[in-house]
């Protein structure tokens, strides 16, 4: 829609306004990014509640700190940086909590924590295929759990959200080269895990 394109172009005006304390301008900025932020948080955490919490925290943090934004990077990168850091915190806490959470053991004797799936739970026309897909979803979920938080984050941003490695590097405050190597490790581990589980 024409007016949506117009809004995107005028980020700078909105940001300056938000920095002057204009809440309306800030909320307008939020609208431009919040769907993507929510999608990221939702897919990473697998929980609507957790996603909402991350969403809330991210934008409140942005509101409190928008005065520090100096246009050195794009606002897009800045927002993604805030959300990604919160997601990393979430992942690290979850790793720590593995002992408390429901831990199960798979056929090889490896432990994994029970994670909530956002895979489509609607009954389809083909129940066997649905079952297989859910099974695969679980296996993939478990494989993802085996990545370190950073590996998981890089993979998530690249594979599920299509960010370029260069952007991922900026978002994680590192180099594109490091992001690339992290992606390599992540995909290697995942392909290895999936091959093992067959």
């Amino acid at each position: 829609m024409v007016s949506q394109t117009l809004r995107r172009v005028d980020d700078t005006t909105l940001i300056r306004e938000a920095q002057r304390g204009n809440r309306v301008a800030f909320e307008e900025l939020v609208r431009q990014y919040d769907r993507a932020v929510l999608r990221l948080a939702l897919h990473l955490t697998g929980s609507e509640q957790d996603a909402q919490d991350i969403y809330q925290e991210a934008f409140l943090k942005a509101y409190r700190n928008v005065g520090n934004f100096r246009f050195e990077c794009s606002f897009y990168t800045w927002i993604y940086r805030i959300v990604t850091n919160l997601c990393l915190d979430h992942l690290r806490k979850r790793n720590v909590r593995k002992e408390d959470a429901g831990v199960a053991t798979d056929a090889e004797g490896n432990e994994y924590s029970v994670i909530e799936q956002t895979a489509d739970a609607r009954p389809g026309a083909d129940p066997e295929r649905d079952l297989m897909r859910r099974e695969l979803g679980n296996r993939i979920g478990r494989a993802l759990e085996r990545l370190t938080p950073r590996e998981r984050m890089v993979f998530e941003l690249k594979h599920y959200h299509g960010l370029k490695l260069r952007t991922i590097g900026e978002v994680l405050s590192t180099t594109e080269e490091t992001a690339k190597n992290t992606l390599f490790r992540a995909t290697q581990k995942l392909r290895g895990s999936l091959a093992d589980m067959r």
Partner: protein
């Protein structure tokens, strides 16, 4: 290009991160090498598998709406910490107070007796303030009615102080005077009284070549709830529709979204000079079909008719 290189960089390939020439070479290599072709297939399959079984679904409209509402509520009670932030350290604070006429002057414009917070960032260095004294009143200590809060910033020497002053003041000068300009910008955004906002926008519209002024006019056009103020802002921005994209976009937006038909028809007039622009043309087409006002529909159509057909 050898098989080792391919194996190492296959990940970049499946995620479209290879340079065009490297991608081409890899594909060429795979046509000749069965192993690498198989590896490529396997990698592609991995990517498809990861997406299919655990798709990144769009959040439901309910979830999005609920999140937005919750955020809105929280923002209402959140302190916009940077609203009147002066990065003060103690010595600097004393300097600022010495040049209080700037602060006192911020309260200007008639009728500000209610204790308004100095919600304005000091832009000029103290040295500049001294030079302006030809039109400003002689420096005096502003009467501070009360300090409402003092918030030290943990981990640094900075502190944020919120205070009220109750002192009606007056400044006289031309609109080229930076003092006057700052006050006009302030009034255009924040004043309760639409009449005062309109006056300030009217004056600012005489100097839209200044970036800050232009931003303030764009803001008034977008967000002011008084149509008279919006019209004045539009007037000021008119001459810049041709060469400033942000102005053009703001006017285009007003054309599509403003609730007041007077503003919308004025926007059409201003956009006539750039009617060949694709975005403008699209907007006019939309309006000619869907605008609530018959006048706007026919006006948009009329302007479109004067355009040569371009395919």
């Amino acid at each position: 290009m050898n098989c080792d290189w391919v194996k190492q960089n296959i990940t970049l390939y499946i995620y479209d991160e290879l340079a065009d020439d490297a991608r081409h070479e890899m594909e060429q290599h795979a046509e000749r090498c069965g192993d690498c072709a198989a590896e490529m297939e396997s990698a592609r399959g991995f990517r498809v598998q990861m997406s299919a079984a655990l798709p990144a679904a769009e959040p439901t409209p309910n979830l999005l709406a609920a999140s937005r509402m919750r955020l809105s509520e929280a923002l209402e009670s959140a302190e916009p910490v940077h609203r009147w932030r002066w990065a003060l350290d103690i010595a600097g604070w004393l300097q600022q107070v010495r040049f209080a006429p700037a602060l006192a002057a911020v309260l200007l414009m008639v009728g500000f007796a209610g204790g308004v917070m100095a919600s304005y960032k000091l832009l000029n260095k103290p040295a500049e303030v001294a030079q302006v004294s030809k039109s400003a009143p002689a420096p005096t200590q502003a009467s501070i009615a009360g300090i409402t809060s003092i918030i030290p910033d943990p981990g640094s020497r900075k502190v944020e102080i919120q205070y009220d002053t109750v002192q009606p003041e007056k400044v006289e000068g031309t609109i080229d005077d930076p003092r006057v300009q700052q006050l006009l910008l302030f009034a255009a955004r924040s004043n309760y009284n639409a009449g005062v906002r309109m006056d300030s926008v009217d004056l600012l519209a005489q100097r839209p070549e200044d970036r800050q002024v232009r931003d303030a006019l764009i803001f008034a056009l977008r967000y002011d709830n008084n149509p008279g103020v919006r019209l004045k802002a539009l007037d000021g921005l008119g001459p810049y529709v041709d060469n400033d994209t942000s102005v053009r976009n703001a006017v285009l937006e007003a054309l599509l979204n403003d609730s007041n038909p007077g503003v919308r028809s004025e926007a059409i007039v201003l956009l006539k000079s750039v009617k060949a622009d694709a975005a403008v043309r699209q907007a006019l087409q939309q309006l000619s079909r869907q605008d609530r006002s018959k006048f706007i529909r026919s006006e948009s159509q009329r302007v479109l008719n004067t355009l040569p057909e371009i395919d």
